[in-house]
Symmetry: C2
Subunit: 339 residues, 2 copies
């Protein structure tokens, strides 16, 4: 598997990315699937860092991408003015089939924007969604969107639900997964206008919709797939990532640092968020990732590649849309033209 890795964007700097690539090469995945990493960034600096860290320059390809999309930059402008940035180069190579997957810890908006522009959306899908695994007592949950589409229409969220169900079936092996809508009450009349509308759409769909869930159900077992707007999902995700340090902060005197269970809260141990809905395998890691998190993200991208997700997503969204539209082809809230 040829995985493009974005060396730019990560806050701690290139070195952490290079360390992550070396760890992934040493790791367990490499023994099962041959991994060929391709790092996109400033070639000279990267070559030096690989050698300093004891890696072999021959085993890691480098594509010189001198321009950097900074974290605070407007994605739109960055994509237009920096054609030689690592993000644009890597996504174009992914589109061309030169690499099989792309892993970035950089500007999420720029990665999503470049993916929409150069990979294109999967047929029947109007907006991409970023999905993230959720820790829970047994197995794993999945939430989408967590930031690709902050302000979706209700029809987009129906598509998120279908994509999430297809993902969870394919990757976690959960049959007929339970789909829950993140809302502010369990009753169908709760929430903002969008939520009420999505509730109606999901009720008419062939998905296994279990109704509204609340913030308290985020790490629970009620739903296998949690559907939310990118805004709500992102805020929840970022808050939940602070739980380990919060525990340290509030509960002093208990040595929890060596407790393996704490890792359950650390999303990086699952490999990052997956961009669903574009023609290509894109994994977005956290901007403050450690080298181990970078390695996990690379390993995760290998898993996604072998999952052949695109067909599953397209088929599930198509069938879901069709079923909902056949129940009532005309009046379906403000998202009617976007189902």
């Amino acid at each position: 598997v040829r995985v493009a890795v974005d060396a730019a964007g990560l806050e701690p700097g290139h070195r952490v990315v290079v360390e992550g690539v070396l760890k992934a090469l040493d790791g367990t995945v490499a023994s099962k699937i041959p991994l060929n990493p391709v790092i996109y960034g400033p070639a000279e600096i990267l070559r030096n860092e690989i050698e300093e860290l004891g890696g072999s320059v021959d085993s890691i390809e480098i594509v010189d991408s001198p321009e950097v999309v900074e974290m605070h930059e407007s994605p739109r402008e960055a994509l237009l003015t920096k054609p030689n940035s690592s993000i644009v180069r890597a996504v174009r190579d992914l589109a061309a089939g030169v690499v099989d997957a792309f892993v970035s810890m950089g500007n999420t908006g720029a990665v999503v924007g470049a993916s929409r522009a150069y990979l294109g959306k999967i047929r029947w899908i109007n907006r991409p969604a970023l999905g993230t695994p959720l820790p829970r007592k047994n197995g794993m949950g999945f939430m989408l969107d967590v930031g690709a589409t902050p302000d979706p229409k209700s029809g987009h969220m129906l598509q998120f639900a279908a994509m999430g169900a297809a993902f969870v079936e394919r990757v976690y092996g959960i049959e007929n997964p339970k789909v829950g809508l993140m809302n502010i009450g369990t009753e169908s009349n709760k929430g903002d206008e969008r939520s009420k509308d999505v509730y109606k759409l999901l009720s008419r769909s062939p998905l296994n919709f279990i109704g509204n869930i609340e913030g308290s159900d985020l790490f629970g077992e009620k739903a296998d797939v949690i559907v939310s707007s990118g805004f709500v999902g992102n805020v929840l995700l970022k808050f939940s990532e602070t739980i380990p340090s919060m525990i340290d902060q509030f509960i002093t005197g208990n040595d929890l640092s060596g407790n393996g269970r704490l890792k359950k809260f650390d999303y990086s141990s699952y490999g990052g968020a997956t961009l669903l809905g574009v023609n290509g395998n894109v994994v977005i890691g956290h901007g403050r990732s450690s080298s181990s998190a970078v390695a996990r993200a690379i390993e995760w991208s290998c898993k996604i590649v072998s999952g052949n997700l695109e067909n599953a997503l397209r088929e599930k969204v198509f069938k879901t849309r069709r079923a909902v539209l056949l129940t009532n082809p005309f009046v379906i809230g403000d998202g009617s033209d976007d189902i």
Copy 2:
């Protein structure tokens, strides 16, 4: 202080409410401020429970309110069809000045709706907001809205910010409190359309606006007042309330139950959420409150009464609106007519 307490709505039943009232009467607040609780609910049952629990029927007034607004009921219909419910009766008594404050653990939508209908909004304030204390390492933070207005316009959120600042100044004694906007990135161009709009409004305001904050800053020190839509605030609040049980679930083998710091996560220990923007002191507790939480909510309502909040809120919102409008009286996004 005469405090109306809603005996209905609480999921564990009347008894917990009665226990809470008795605890509040025994508690510390009662020794400083004379507390006169008035319980609204089925008189016969309540009288029996007070006696069974060893309380004196003479020290606790009861207003017979046989109808109950259930948690799953539509607030609109409940208010129209149940004029003898505890919520409607208590709010009407609050409006008439018969009681000084109202504490309910019932249907939030019904309490907010009844408050808007019978108390009316404070002048210059278009939408009420529910504010909740946030635990943090030093002192206390405050977030609003957490559920009274799920889908506010940007102008409403400017008012939330001003109300939150006034509350924190008056109740926590923090001068010129830092106001942060809950968003999905720190840059001004991040978020959905509403967030971008609110960012602009807050930037033009005389409030001490420190910019966007993210989910990871919820329990941090960056902002004293966190402004969010009722939808986002509610989801965050409900998720954060699960942290204590999550810690139990994931970290076994560490006896944390006796650790006082864990209580920091338990909102009920702060006394519940305060409804800001209506002419009257209304405190809303959690539907799954313990009797101690009910007692805290009653004590909290006494504190609010002595704070004389209404004038402070009105003045702060008036000054904030005026300052923003004077910078640009016409074009201020979609919330222009609601500032």
